[in-house]
Amino acid sequence: MTETMSGAEMVIKALQDQGVEHIFGYPGGAVLPIYDAMFHQDKVKHVLVRHEQGAVHAAEGYARSSGKVGCVLVTSGPGATNAVTGLTDAMLDSIPLVCITGQVPTHLIGSDAFQECDTVGITRHCTKHNYLVRSVEDLPRILHEAFYVASNGRPGPVVVDIPKDVQFAMGKYDRPKDNQHKTYRPQVEGDIEKIRAAVKLMAGAKKPVFYTGGGVINAGTEASATLRELVRLTGYPITSTLMGLGAYPAADPQWLGMLGMHGTYEANLAMHDCDVMICIGARFDDRITGRLHAFSPNSKKIHVDIDPSSINKNVKADIGIVGDCGHILKSMLAEWKVLDKAPDCKRLDPWWSEIKTWQARKCLAYRGSDKVIKPQYAVERLYALTKDMDPYITTEVGQHQMWAAQYFRFESPNRWMTSGGLGTMGYGLPAAIGTQMAHPGKLVIDIAGEASILMNIQEMSTAVQYRLPVKIFILNNEYMGMVRQWQELLHGSRYAESYSDSLPDFVKLAEAYGARGIRCNDPAKLDDAIREMIASPKPVIFDCHVEKMENCFPMIPSGKAHNEMLLNDLSDDAGVDIGNVIDVKGKALV
């Protein structure tokens, strides 16, 4: 049915027609008409953040934990520029977002008007696509197209920049019947001949490994279910990237743990020594491959990805299959089931026994302490005390993020929200807010560092306002730990600016926001303190004082291959001398 309404009303109507329930935003001059239109309805609920970067990360957390498109509404100029980091984060991690930005009236564009910036110019490289709406006639189509583009193909953020006069202009709104773009049609189904060839290659493998990534999560819960069925049926070991955690259950015996720079010994050695690598929805990122020329030198590689540009970008694939992971996994499963001769599982025995020797190395073991809380111990206890509550975990970026990935174990997809590609400190708290918004009543924990949390600490106010009981679990070592670790590795332990001085009293800070603050520095009291945190109905900042000099292991240092990992026992105590591990050649890398 065609209705006549203002551009601002069209925005709200389109959001309603897309089934949007929550939008994260911050008002300002150039979006006031849209806020006014929102005032007259209650289907789309607005969450007022305290900084536009927080709005985008909140929408990311919302999208990743729910599988829906996350929505953001910000004003022109600084509203849009503050959103840029979040948009770039969503771009790198393939998170579907629609971000609506206000713009100065069309006749003022280009005049350096108050709060004007070239939003589509600035966001061109950090969005999947963006639009400047020049006429109200185009607005309904563009709004619906934005949702299509954000969520189809490789997901990503889409910006719709709407000048204020277009928001006021009256026009006809029609809900398009087919929510599509006129020409953009990403490939969903994989080439069946290639899938058959891949399954044949898999069936003949003696040392196979599955290597999966965020693409499986993006493809929906059904894709994870199909992956589980295929992996169990084949009996092959499986590892995953940081972004893919939860697609395969960590409790399963075929699970090797995360791979990559801080991945497990067994996962990285399996990648290095395998003869067939089955990569599903991952992109051979530099944190995964280590030294490219030494990356899995003797394997045939199958690469499934929805983005053709991911295939052969860093690592040459022997079989590259373009399409949606979920569809291709289904086809692979079907093809596996009709193989002429069911592969003999016995042939995998030597491979598994090799893997077991690597697992016996217990690469995640660490030296415990009864005097000081080890960060690994803190995450382990947090996991043990919350695992039965189906928790949702977000993180900031740094050592704590890697410890969370290593020691927290995920059984289901969409439970793990972290900034992988961009590595954005300050991601975790707003992401937790978005996640909690999507999952009321669930336990949402931001595993944080004391440096990262301060980057978006203002969002505490949002959490308190909307009564979102997110738990912020700070592993406080009074260092930008990962920076310090790299300074030990590469820069002679000269800790230039990597210490956290003049930290706030986090307990008082929590109380100042009207939240709950808890501090713990005694391993013996940790469990009770964590229980207290979980039991609180309020947002909680948990200031967990941990061993200051602990480093994150295992680790593949620069210039090294997967089979040249650093393991924890190189260290005597905290304060490992890792300064001589990387040779001159490694240090001279680009």
């Binding site: 589509v120 110019g121 061109r124 490289h125 999947k128 696509h129 400047l132 020049r134 583009v149 193909g153 490789r154 773009h181 006129k182 020409t183 953009y184 530099d286 491959t289 280590g290 030294r291 490219l292 020329h293 983005d307 053709p308 540009s309 295939i311 052969n312 970008k313 040459k316 790299w486 590795l489 590469l490 820069h491 240092p557 620069s558 210039g559 240090k587 001279a588 890398l589 680009v590």
Partner: protein, 177 residues
């Protein structure tokens, strides 16, 4: 330099490719494509663009680029993944394409060099678009090498200005894009 990134890949010889890209003629589409090349560090040797199907608002962009085989493959995929891009066709890979560009060349001179310039222009098949007592503007259409040769010769005969369109290209034979 110290860092935690992988080392630069071993270079394989670069190739020269001519790509035809069909795009929606919407605001910013050229910026998107030019920005892709600068953002990802690809080379542009020549880029031409014009709307070719007015009713459908489709433009054809011809890009000449150089890169290793892996980079060329990336360029094609990265272009193809832009939302307003309909198709990317590698004309070089499809065989020897027809490539032409047009140059306007201003030559200033008197006496012998002036008449010599006119003779050379005739030999190259260039047209004289403007003539005064001490100058010419020549128009020459040809492949890039021919135009380079013409400019080199004119350099000794009072060459003062050059304006070139960049390359327009099309595959040979009956097959269409």
């Amino acid at each position: 330099m110290k860092s935690h990134y992988s080392d630069a890949p071993i270079d394989t010889p670069p190739q020269r490719r001519t790509l035809s890209v069909l795009v929606d003629n919407e605001p910013g589409v050229l910026a998107r494509i030019a920005g892709l090349f600068s953002g990802r560090g690809y080379n542009i040797e020549s880029l031409t663009v014009s709307e070719t199907e007015h009713e459908k608002h489709v433009s054809r962009i011809t890009i000449v680029t150089t890169g290793t085989a892996m980079v060329i493959e990336q360029i094609k995929h990265q272009l193809d993944r832009l939302v307003p891009v309909h198709r990317v066709v590698d004309l070089t890979a499809k065989g020897d394409a027809v490539e032409r560009e047009l140059a306007l060349v201003k030559v200033i001179g008197k006496g012998d060099s002036r008449s010599e310039a006119l003779r050379i222009a005739a030999a190259f098949g260039a047209r004289s678009l403007d003539a005064t007592l001490n100058s010419f503007v020549f128009e020459l259409t040809g492949d890039s090498e021919e135009i380079e040769r013409f400019i080199r010769v004119m350099a000794g005969l009072g060459l003062s200005e050059v304006s070139r369109t960049g390359i327009a290209a099309m595959s040979r034979g009956a097959e269409a894009l």
